[in-house]
Subunit: 215 residues, 2 copies
């Protein structure tokens, strides 16, 4: 599949069919993740492909109350939206609500872990949230998402289960000091699946020479 | 360009020619970044394409002493390496050393900024470095890197300049509370450029059902 076409149509797909993913397809999308860059090429992440039905149910049971709490906050924070923006929010929330209740239906949940000891985190102590550890994880996650798109698989990047990290680590036998960074349910799309994205135009995201400057 | 081919050959390219990048090419790679997912589709990042020669020199002057310090630490930490691993490290350090001294030669330095207020950071207060803010930034950076690969442009993801964030924000007029997450020098490759990557095999990066489990 063409690179730009894959990027341009890589939607968050939150409704999946329960059919299994063939081993060779799963292996290809996981291998795609390994091609991503990491700081000093340390590759300080690992991914666990959770296929076991009991473990997927356990992840859903951890996810659902976190989602319900998040949803309430999101509705409060976006109460001022009207018209198209409100419709769009409602559609996204309905799909995310479906995902939360059916997380165990997705045949694979890819759980990304990382080891912060193997990272040079250059933005600690700046008096704002650190993000740089993510530079050695989320490029790999993005490769996985794009590879799924190319294979016709639907998926979505979620991070809410980090709030239940101790329980997740116990469930998946993730050893200290490894931690969790992303949870990607993967499955064949149950409804329309991929398609054009809703994004701000490039001229409002990219500037020239200074913040706010014309490109 | 084929998606997997782009991923499989997307090397860190640290030696660039000074020739400018045509506007339409630059616009395409920046637009590719906008297609990436972000939490709640908030798109809480912006990118500044720094082409101004004086500003690129100023970024190099900030980068060089940070790099020299990092390099010393890296040599100390990797002093035990021998044979192929030591050779590989030395080649990487030589290229990174070249980059640090010639950062201003790259015709564009893409500086990614973010606004943490627009992020749901789900891994705060866990007693380990937070990374989740990066889930709404580095997928976009990875899209940019892959798009550069497809266009024949060399580039590399760096984060060292976060250590000089106040100076960078002053230079590029980045307003509070926006912060910096990635610095990607971009240019036409001066030497061999892209090619096969050195990565661990997928079976050592991806597990099945539990950490360490066979895929």
């Amino acid at each position: 599949m063409d690179l730009y076409e894959a990027m341009r149509t890589c939607r968050a797909v939150r409704r999946h069919r329960p059919e299994t993913i063939p081993d060779d397809v799963l292996r290809r999308v996981l291998e795609a993740a390994t091609f991503a860059p990491t700081g000093g090429n340390a590759q300080p992440w690992r991914v666990i492909a959770v296929r076991d039905a009991g473990k997927r149910r356990a992840l859903r049971d951890l996810y659902l109350p976190l989602w319900q709490e998040y949803q309430k906050e999101h509705m409060r924070a976006s109460a001022g939206l009207t018209g198209d923006a409100a419709d769009k929010r409602d559609r996204m929330l309905a799909a995310a609500d479906h995902l939360a209740a059916h997380l165990d239906v997705s045949p694979v949940i890819a759980v990304f872990c990382f080891d912060a000891r193997r990272m040079a985190i250059t933005d600690e102590g700046l008096g704002r949230p650190s993000v740089v550890g993510g530079a050695s994880i989320y490029p790999a996650v993005q490769n996985l998402l794009l590879a799924c798109r190319a294979e016709g698989l639907g998926c979505v990047l979620t991070t809410l289960l980090c709030k239940a990290e101790p329980e997740v680590c116990a469930l998946l036998e993730i050893p200290d000091p490894w931690a969790t960074a992303a949870f990607v349910p993967i499955g064949w799309p149950a409804s329309k699946g991929h398609g054009p994205l809703t994004r701000r135009p490039v001229q409002s995201m990219a500037f020239g020479d200074r913040f706010g400057g014309a490109l």
